[in-house]
Symmetry: none
Subunit: 214 residues, 4 copies
DNA sequence: TATGAATGAGTTTTCATTCAT
DNA sequence: CATGAATGAAAACTCATTCAT
């Protein structure tokens, strides 16, 4: 009960794993799994190498935690997006696009996407988890919404899944570009502008004549 | 009578480098640079570990050769594409789209794109080379053509560079999908269909009213 | 009751570098740089191969540390010798000669000299350091003292540097002999006796008639 | 009988081994045994790597040939020296000293001495051969001659073996110096002058009073 | 014979993981 | 709990030696 002099800034033990995962995300995103050194992760997290093993049994487990931790927040976002009423398609999209920049800024999807792509063959379970929990649900939801809109006559005929891909791909490419080419001096892509312009393009491209006329 | 047991030594100096690079491409694309073992590359190329060092001084040099070798054929494709007359924009695009599937099938861009993304921080020179020699020229050419078409009144107003990205992104995502999610059981994306449908979508989205009416 | 089996890990950070250098000296002196195996050095030092890399980044650095560490103690000896008053030349030499055996016994110059000679082309910096810091200063000091004595008329005319070499060479040969031929069964050279007899010989050979008469 | 067109400069096959040994001497003297690469020796000898194996079964055998070939000419020199009448000691020495420079220039003792010193532990048989065939006979002969001169009253009392070492050591050191320190910028030692001055010094140091007066 | 591409055993080097403190 | 020195298995790299040509 009575610890003699409680330290002012007590290191919250409960936070350690998260700190480690955050540090690991940076290192893994930069180097990839194999080239990342636990020593660097430990240093970035401000703990000793040994301490990592108090929280994670192996390097792979740290990696899994990183990628899984990357799923959760995005999962929420996707869920939230899907919960929206889908009747006014155009405005829904415009709303999502508005939200995009802050999502990208706060979630470090960039690094995670890079890791998922780069390590998909070394950690198939992770690629699979990402696909099954995130990508596929989001894609189906969009596909479904598009199909529904087609059924209502709002959208043109065409493969709704491919329309969905047409919709999201440029933003994904923007994120990858930022991770890959911007650091080597390429002209950055302004993802917000891209999203805005692309959504309008896409809407013009898929709205049926009737809808377009509206 | 009996084939006198296959020779232990094979002398094929001229072919070896290419064979090694081809083998290395497969392994690197699968595992990434750090996780790839020279022993595996050697085995896949059908040579001994030591033989690799007859042609490449280090593992990094093999990797560089792989990525650089990936530039050349694509460079030709890009050049060829740019050489086309750009006056009839829509048909030019439709022509390129027709060519796409064979390009993707024959060049293993998939693996190379994955490597460039995944190792961009570990081999910035390669990411830069890819950007400077391939991505940036292709992108500027498209941007220029789009801007010209806008000036002629064929295409709507809007940032031509972002339009270009809107155009190519889905195909890129298709390629990445094939590398990342198809191997873990995801439903494949038919890139040819995607391209075809997307180009029409894009054209409808960017053609000016006048043009659209035509 | 029973000593609970010797610990697998020993933590001795402070002592380790010296222990490694000491072990390395033995191995390098025996085999030379290239033929020495890090495994042997590690074993002799009582550590694992990996532990060497906690203290030295490469094999070459271990070697450099060994040779450089060999400079220091000898440097002190040379400095001490040079600090002596040089007016009574004969007695100075006799004093130095008395000190010689313990120097040779305690400093393992033998092995180091052998290494410096054997690896002078592979590690020119080390040969140079040895020359510049040790050999050349000692030789000039002696040359200077001899020249001064000549000027005072105590010693005969003649090249003082060559006189200095005449003076020290036999002791050096004695050291080399011990490293080279004694281990293969040659009759040892008693360096102390050699030094004593040689100094007297040398003095008789260089003292001027007047001095000799005294 | 009738080779159609006899090549003008026929490669004498009989010379090959010697050419290889000569090349190997240079490389071994420079790098030592372990660090010397057969490829370099082959290149220096102007033959292919495989050709070495037509004449020598292993690297060690090349090395042995080099060191043994270094014995022969010196052996002759020593024998010649010993055959001389030893009655006039002083003049004998002066004669030998005159011969020294050409011996040093023509026999590359330098490199061989360095190799024998550096590899004595790795190839004890060679160190032993050198000692038994060359060094020890020469040293005993000198020792014997000195002892005889002492018996005749020409030379002072003292250990004759040590006197012999006193006599030859500076020249040996001169040779080592040339191999070790001259290449890193040290002031060269003029071995001829050294020898001349040292022999006179030595004679003054060992001749008995009576002899000195003579 | 002669070549030099190819081999594979041996060494250096790295780093995830363990454990004495 | 925490540390970081130490381990040792695994990977890159070297080069004497072999052998198809």
């Amino acid at each position: 009960m009575s610890s003699p002099r409680p330290p002012k800034f007590q290191r919250r033990k409960a936070d350690r794993p998260d700190e480690i995962v955050a540090a690991a995300l940076e290192i893994f995103a930069e180097k990839g799994f194999a080239a990342a050194r636990l020593e660097d992760i430990a240093a970035r997290a401000g703990v000793s190498k040994g301490a990592l093993y108090l929280y994670f049994p192996t390097k792979q487990d740290i990696f899994r935690a990183v990628v899984e931790q990357g799923v959760a927040p995005n999962l929420d976002i996707v869920r939230a997006g899907l919960a929206e009423p889908t009747d006014d398609f155009a405005n829904l999209l415009r709303g999502l696009v508005k939200a995009l920049p802050s999502v990208i800024a706060t979630t470090s999807i960039g690094g995670i996407v890079k890791m998922v792509i780069g390590e998909s063959r070394n950690f198939p379970e992770l690629a699979q988890a990402w696909h099954d929990k995130l990508v596929q649900p989001a894609l189906s939801a969009m596909t479904g919404a598009i199909a529904a809109a087609q059924a209502r006559g709002e959208l043109r005929a065409g493969d709704p899944r491919l329309y969905a891909i047409s919709l999201v791909a440029p933003m994904l490419v923007g994120v990858i570009w930022r991770e890959t080419f911007t650091p080597v001096g390429a002209e950055p892509i302004d993802i917000a502008s891209l999203a805005e312009q692309h959504v309008e393009l896409w809407l013009r491209g898929v709205l049926s004549q009737a809808g377009a006329a509206a």
